[in-house]
Symmetry: C2
Subunit: 656 residues, 2 copies
């Protein structure tokens, strides 16, 4: 049995975290295995071609040339952004997690080739970012927009992954030299006493500390976390940016310890909080822990979409106000969903509480997964919960189509690294035993207790756990009961155990024997969900959910191509379930009843006195909802997650 | 009597328009007179200081120097945008309309000084834009973002205003030389065969034709209208812009004649349509007329806020999809409201239909006027219909505060020119007589019929019209009955006349005698308004209106500083009216009844199963609504136009 967890987060023995990622976590079948297969065989396999076509690898080769290295006659930098290197680092990290899971000689050779390029591009003094090496300007002078520490963070994470996957120190040495360079440059009284406009290096430095035991890395992470929020990044207006988003954009308006709400650029905020949570775990700092718990609650309660997505605003890719959650103009960047999962996972380890994995589940199956096309080679950057019929005709509309790659290609390799490392997020061990956070067919274990999980989750709520290896003496096996589930039962060797979940966990504690079988049954009838009264954007609407999945109506599935914007949902009609193995890679659809609205009178003023001219929807028609994660994989058309309720009487549609 | 209308739009004798701006239009008292007084005494008077402080005037002085003129050693250009000159031109236009209305020696001297600066800055060949003259690059090479024709258009409009106000040709000669330069540069087979990224010159060239009778200007306007929409502005990504908004941004995706919906940057779209409407009026082109009618209907029916504001998206300042009208994230730029008024006015003249002036009234009193602070020296660029309590704490939030001036200062001088020329939009003459489109105390007339209007509009719906001067024979006097008004009466010399409005007009036709009095009474009880079922953002809500005014709740007016986001409106409770002469410059407030929502449970997931945990609002509390145009003139706090309705049962708040 593999006893060293090979995933991205590995708290030290000194960390205060009650939970640690399970030493053994293998996903071997079912829903996520198929998505991980596509990730490995298509997305990861095609990554080097994409990085070659976009010029990222050429940048590394150019930086390795002598005139690139000393900056005298720089070669041409390819790409529009200072952070092009990070796409390479993220692909590399993803490929390493894949190798850690499933050895593959071809991929291993690709990895070593890219590692070689990176090593060759590094400057003698340890500096590494091809944008500045290839004539982009003086290093460490544009901390706001330069993304140098951001790229460094991704390089460090790739190096940690490479080390954990292969045992090699080859890339870790590059990371170590880069980190040494950072130690020489950053800090009070040093050359640079400020932070990077884009957090990321914080969590990377903590993981480098966890890997090398070099405490300087932890101290530098703490410096970056504490330095931020004091306005040291003085202006948001910089090259290529004709407006100033204000210091909140990069969380430089308030120190993390004092902040009461998540704010600014969503990915930046959440990468920062992931780093702060790592730091709280390693230092036991109670003020920092209180801050990350407070900010997570603010995010989950007031700034998270039903899909788990975050970051409402197109404008500066930002969290908006509390309860500002528009469905149509949701920005909901794929990377922000990933960042939310990173943050929540660190909170789950730090606190042992199930609610963090509740949100991870919701985000994984919905807000995150929608970003990845079923084909493994097309992507969404923006993940709205509502697309109107004609949006896709707008050439400038980012949320219209899946795209093979992006000019700003942060999302695709980020999806790759999350899917490649996904088993890491499934199970933990604590002092009392093994915790299953997510359900996927496979093998999970640690501290002597190993179990085999078989399930058809998320299509079916039955999870069968068979004990394969046992420790001496009694242990707990804890299974998370998702917050969406109101009816669950647990049976041990065929005997139902009494008692409701405690804080989200159902536990069996005993001296297990191999062959013991624990069966969890989560009832997952389709359901209608509404939002609280302060969520203005979806007032008077309901969404269809089943199990962990949020559903949506796509125009193509409706009778006669009925536009989902032209109907109201009949909340009294039953919801039905249908298994469709040949639709969208195999899904369970939900049937509902809609009532078409009368067409608008062309050219008519769209406002009217209350109580006059209430819309009268027509006779019921059968609607078909598909899982939201699978939307936009067929022909373009309207899509809605939130459906106006017929009969609400005011503004939606009346039930007469 | 002044017989030459001095306003901005003056169709020629050959135009097909059934209506022409009234030759005499003076606003002498009441609501708009006070706003125009502040405009003249504060906004216009302080304009030169602002333009000096922002560097706009210095740019003109620098361009007048020899080394500025030949470009050899350019002086430093002040300001962040290529179109800084247009702020000067717009102030100048505004000042000229003010002078046309009310002679003022000091203002006249300021005007002549600025005219002198502009004349001196013009290049020998007629070219004029200081950004390119002061080292910004080669003229006419950056049509997309350069704004050279946009600035030319504003210069031409200022010159027309100067000529109409003063009779002088001094600035008109500058405009003529600039136009000659344009004729030499633009067109098929000439140096530049494309359009400006920002429409504006089209309507200006038509007005220059109307002023000079030089048909080349009309032809060039037609060239610009017809050339657009063929993708000749090939890329939206240019200096300072790291994303490409697509050709829709500047309406280069579809020719005007073929377009079926307003799209892209709202101000650009509407300036273009104003020019197209002018062109349709002067040429009688039926295809163009059909296009502008179709596009106006699309705007009014699917893309206009209750306040008349347009342009929903912060992202690229764009019209969004049909029915995409978020209250909180409304961009609703002040300039877009002005552009909508410009467009609607030309449509009113072109068609004679009252609905265009209905929308002008709504926009003037709400979406436009909110942009101008009551003090005449602070402004809103963005005009949301909902501000949450904490938004103003965000330094990067544009919609939080009124601002003395902007880095991109397009809105303030645009407000100034509309207020200065406002009497122009009040009345028209047609073949059959005089039409009153808007109601303000003053004197209006043309073709021999002159009337004096006395009214306390918009606070009171009584409009008394006394005939002062009469022509020989019978004439019509037509008074617009706004679409919001469901109960109106017209009396002639004390006798009520029967009959409902026809197509929005109530008419008296007779041989008038001096002293004849026509009294219009428009009932204006406060009312609740709801949006159609496709306007997702305000489903389940109502807005308070009275007469032409949209109302809002500001936090400061509510009992105990109750946050408007924490209540639902009781639609069954009566609305009351209160005259408050000392509040916000004198307003009529509307009283309503709200029911406070229970506070959210901190940290709780904000979604729940339908039918569970419906919010139960508390006992009724008295609310005070103020006119929307006056919001954000006191301490910061939450504001709402659209209020959730208690008792709608789903998502808003239940009436138990």
């Amino acid at each position: 049995m593999n006893t060293a967890p090979s995933g991205p987060v590995r708290p030290t023995a000194g960390a205060v975290s009650p939970l640690r990622p399970a030493a053994l976590a293998r996903v071997e079948g079912g829903f996520w295995a198929e998505r991980r297969r596509v990730n490995a065989e298509v997305s990861l396999a095609e990554g080097p071609e994409r990085l070659e076509a976009a010029g990222n690898l050429a940048n590394l080769r150019a930086a390795a040339l002598p005139n690139g290295r000393d900056g005298a006659e720089p070669a041409h930098f390819a790409g529009d952004f200072q952070f092009q290197d990070s796409d390479v680092h993220k692909w590399l990290e993803a490929a390493c997690w894949q190798l850690a899971d499933s050895p593959d000689g071809e991929l291993a050779a690709e990895v070593e080739a890219v590692v070689g390029l990176i090593a060759a591009a590094q400057r003698e003094d340890g500096y590494l970012q091809t944008y500045y090496q290839l004539g982009g300007g003086e290093p460490w002078t544009e901390l706001g927009w330069g993304h140098e520490l951001y790229c460094a963070g991704h390089l460090i994470q790739a190096a940690v992954a490479h080390h954990r996957a292969t045992g090699s120190d080859r890339l870790l040495r590059v990371a170590g030299r880069l980190a040494d360079h950072l130690h020489s440059v950053f800090g009070p009284g040093r050359q640079v006493d400020t932070v990077c406009g884009h957090p990321e290096v914080e969590t990377a430095l903590v993981e480098l500390y966890r890997t090398t035991s070099d405490r300087r890395h932890l101290d530098l992470a703490r410096y970056f976390v504490d330095r931020r929020g004091h306005g040291s990044l003085s202006s948001g207006a910089d090259r290529g940016h004709d407006r100033d988003p204000g210091p909140e954009y990069w969380q430089d308006h308030t120190p993390v310890r004092e902040a009461t709400e998540v704010a600014g650029h969503a990915v930046r905020q959440l990468y920062l909080l992931a780093g702060a949570a790592d730091l709280a775990a390693e230092t036991g700092d109670p003020g920092l822990r209180a801050a990350v718990e407070r900010l997570w609650r603010d995010m989950a309660a007031t700034k998270t979409y039903l899909t788990g997505a975050v970051g409402s605003r197109h404008d500066w890719e930002a969290f908006g106000d509390a309860h500002e959650l528009p469905a149509d103009r949701a920005y909901a960047e794929t990377c922000a969903a990933i960042a939310s999962i990173h943050f929540s996972w660190r909170m789950a380890l730090l606190t042992g509480e199930a609610r963090y994995s509740d949100l991870i589940e919701r985000t994984l199956f919905n807000g995150f997964l929608a970003g990845a096309g079923l084909d493994g080679r097309t992507w969404l950057y923006v993940n709205p919960l509502h697309r109107r019929a004609r949006s896709h005709e707008r050439p400038g509309d980012q949320s219209a189509h899946r795209t093979p790659w992006f000019r700003c290609a942060c999302c695709p390799p980020n999806v790759m690294r999350l899917l490649a490392s996904l088993p890491h997020y499934m199970a933990t061990t604590g002092a009392d035993g093994l915790y299953l956070h997510q359900y996927a067919t496979g093998v999970y274990g640690g501290d002597g207790l190993t179990v085999r999980v078989v399930t058809d989750y998320p299509w079916d709520g039955t999870v069968t756990v068979t004990v394969e290896e046992t420790p001496a003496g009694p242990k707990s096996l804890a299974l998370r009961v998702p917050a969406w589930c109101t009816r669950s039962t647990l049976a041990l060797n065929g005997t139902v155990l009494d008692g409701p979940p405690e804080s989200g966990w159902l536990r069996v504690t005993r001296a297990f024997a191999p062959g013991d079988t624990v069966r969890l049954a989560l009832a997952m009838p389709p359901r209608l969900t509404v939002a609280g009264p302060r969520v203005d954007a979806v007032r008077g609407c309901a969404a269809i959910e089943r199990g962990p999945l949020v559903y949506c109506l796509e125009q193509t599935d409706q009778p006669g191509g009925l536009d989902p914007d032209d109907l109201a949902l009949d909340p009294a009609a039953p919801l039905t379930v249908d298994s469709r193995p040949h639709l969208l890679g195999g899904v369970v659809t939900v049937g509902a009843t809609g009532r078409p609205l009368t067409p608008d009178e062309p050219g008519a003023w769209p406002y009217r006195p209350l109580g006059t001219g209430e819309p009268r929807p027509g006779a019921g028609v059968g609607l078909t909802a598909v899982p939201y994660y699978a939307w936009a994989n067929r022909e373009a058309g309207a899509m809605r997650v939130w459906l106006p309720l017929a009969g609400s009487g005011t503004g939606a549609a009346d039930d007469q």
